[in-house]
Amino acid sequence: MNLIGEKGVRRIFLATAFSALSALLLIALFIINEGVPFIVKYGIGDFLLASTWNPKEGQFGIFPMVVASIWVTLGAMLVGAPLGVAGAIFLSEFVPVTVMRIVKPMIELLAAIPSVVFGFIGVVVLAPLIRTYLGGPGLSLLAGCIILGIMILPTVISISIDSIQAVPRSYREGSLALGATTWQTVHMVTFRAAKSGIIASIILGMGRAIGETMAVIMVAGNAVKIPHSALDSVRSLTANIALEMSYATGLHRQALFATGVVLFVVIMILNSLAIMAMRKRVAKK
């Protein structure tokens, strides 16, 4: 160790720390450099709010995809957030710690399953079920919401558990000593004290849902239109980039980078919200 010395180690860690940061900066610069000129040239209003996407004719309106991304993400929240938060409350308040210690890593394992596997299950199992019992093409907004809802469960559950456990024991003991039942303690004391952490977990899950690409391409059908029902096929912003990038040249390619800029901005906003919610929690303590 003397070979490198205290200062040397410090520099090495500095370099590693900055490599992550510089990767982020490079990516941001690259997307902005490729995408922003297009947005300026085509007009931000026409780009964001027009609903015809026809690259061959030079029409690049991403409104249906913005709407689709929002619906898919909200739908995934509707599926994933209640399930995840309820699961976290159950695991941290209603079962012995040993059970939680076994179950939590198993749920976190869910995060390690590649998204293409989720997509495949969606195509082979979920889509035919939706087609048979609910109608429509099966590959739909609903299928996307359910698959993404399941995919965000590990994020929501494990961060929620952490923040529920961070609530000081004395809060719970105080509440129980005043004669409250376990459920009353959970929803009136623990849940409120852990609220900002739970919100942060949901927002992080949301970030995962909006950025997910492979599973959405496979199960959502990718039709470019504003959905009228949950059974309609939709194309998210991420799917648009991944689907067409391999063939795109010229203006079409720039339009896809511009789609990336829109996505980047949306995810930045979401992550900032998550960080703000986390800070609030820390400040409270």
Partner: protein, 255 residues
């Protein structure tokens, strides 16, 4: 990226005569096999094959990033005028449905109607009462632009599902009894059936005889006149040995 790669390949292969092919993903696997065989016959040659799509094939042949561009388009874009094009193979585009579908024959007008979104139920095309699920390729795909161009005036219905490869089109159609899609003739399987168009079946014989309308040529594009190793490789593809390899792997010979 491609430029860099080409420069890299070019830099490495100075001692050997090296050729780069880029473009059509439909012809890429065939080009790779042909290149392997050619390099066996000519140990001094070095050929690398890259994908990227037909548009990339045209662009890189013009820019010189690749000596040979591959494109599977019915009509080459105007900027390809400066290139010498050679048809090396043909590929039929099969219109496919689920095996349970009663419809086995459609007219050209019906196919256009279905993909335009004016025919939305199978009963209007001679089938049972069920909504039609149209499955198409993404914008920019050579298969899609050839398909739309041959049938003419197709503005794809906004309800169409979009899949990004021949393989996923096949999976989607094989899983959905109401679906209709199109894919390369080479990729037909027994889980989907090809529909006859105006009573003509999508078969190698009908494509060669010029009876089946949905056929696209596969072009090799070269800047200027092909010479040296490039010419010799194209000649090999057009030779009876090369054409036989193309045929064995599911495409249709050029002549």
């Amino acid at each position: 990226m491609i430029l860099l790669l080409a420069a890299f390949v070019g830099g490495c292969g100075r001692s050997k005569s090296s050729i780069t092919l880029a473009g059509s993903t439909a012809f890429q696997p065939f080009a790779e096999k042909l290149a392997d065989q050619y390099m066996l016959n000519h140990p001094s040659a070095s050929i690398s094959v890259q994908g990227g799509g037909s548009a990339v094939g045209v662009q890189s042949a013009i820019s010189g990033a690749a000596q040979i561009g591959m494109a599977d388009l019915v009509t080459l874009p105007p900027e390809a005028r400066v290139l010498t094009s050679t048809v090396v193979a043909q590929d039929g585009i099969a219109i496919v449905v689920h095996p349970s579908n009663r419809v086995t024959d459609l007219t050209k007008q019906q196919v256009s109607g279905i993909f335009n979104g004016t025919i939305r139920n199978w009963k209007d095309a001679g089938g049972s009462n069920a909504p039609i699920t149209v499955v198409s390729r993404e914008a920019g795909s050579g298969t899609r632009s050839s398909f739309e161009e041959i049938l003419g005036n197709i503005t794809l219905t906004k309800d169409a599902l979009i899949q990004d490869s021949n393989g996923t089109i096949r999976e989607t159609v094989a899983n959905d009894p109401n679906a209709i899609g199109y894919l390369s003739h080479a990729l037909l399987s027994d889980r989907i059936i090809a529909i006859r168009i105006d009573h003509v079946e999508c078969s190698t014989e009908n494509v060669v005889a010029g009876k089946y309308i949905l056929v696209r040529p596969i072009y090799l594009l070269v800047k200027g006149m092909p010479e040296g190793e490039t010419k010799s490789f194209i000649d090999f593809i057009l030779s009876s040995e090369g054409q036989k390899m193309i045929e064995q792997n599911g495409l249709i010979r050029a002549r």
